[in-house]
Symmetry: C2
Subunit: 158 residues, 2 copies
Amino acid sequence: MTTTTQNPETSPSLIAESLFLQELVRQIRAFDHYGFYRSWSDELVLSPFIIAKKKRREISLEGDVDPTTKMRILCFYRAIASLIEKETGQLCQVVVDLNHEGFGWVLIWCGRLMVVTRTLRDAHRFGFETMESLAEQGKNLTASGVEMVKRFPEVAQF
Amino acid sequence: MTTTTQNPETSPSLIAESLFLQELVRQIRAFDHYGFYRSWSDELVLSPFIIAKKKRREISLEGDVDPTTKMRILCFYRAIASLIEKETGQLCQVVVDLNHEGFGWVLIWCGRLMVVTRTLRDAHRFGFETMESLAEQGKNLTASGVEMVKRFPEVAQF
């Protein structure tokens, strides 16, 4: 909640162009059971994902990962899973397994195929330098996931 | 800790015959940093895994899953992963992802291949009717995991 008021150089056109950012907004809004974000623009909804490097370093690694940060991580990878699902027609599952030190696994799989695996470190500081890099990383992870499904279709459908 | 004193019909020979039970004992002892179990027999170490159906139904599903139960679940699946590793030479990873309602995923994977996936329900009540069924379920899961690796070696080595 600390960074929602910083709404830097994001142009609405970036979101209009990026399928990934649109899906990410959709994932976040899906969790917004009380309509808290209803009146917010898409840029504002995404703005907590953007944390400058200097600011990120200031986030303490003590104690548990903040629940809103955890939710952000989950939304990021759910958006990827959802886009892989749309492109391949295979159902995807997501697990984010973090220990209290902010270290853990992110796993996205279809059938018996792991399409995305990542180890997370310092999850407290999850964030992206710019909206562009957020869009690009999401897009790249989605593309590599889709490629895995195309490469091993038999395992993905197992 | 409630069931450690019940040490029913287990025969030491069952453990001597079951590779899985031996590995399970090894996993549990590996977590025993303070040597609490050092003087315990293998049968006694395994006894909390055996919970009669009636007793199991009495375990409350309220609140978080007991940490010792969680540890037992982790040890069970780590033993499977370790045996798959020994048989196939592929490194295995284990994630147990439980929510506070005792519902979640157990995942064991090699490379990009999910060799064991299970959904858990009512994890509070994790246990087995007899030592035989514990040994058998572990053995069967190990065998199905090894079969997956043999079936898709390319994905397991990815």
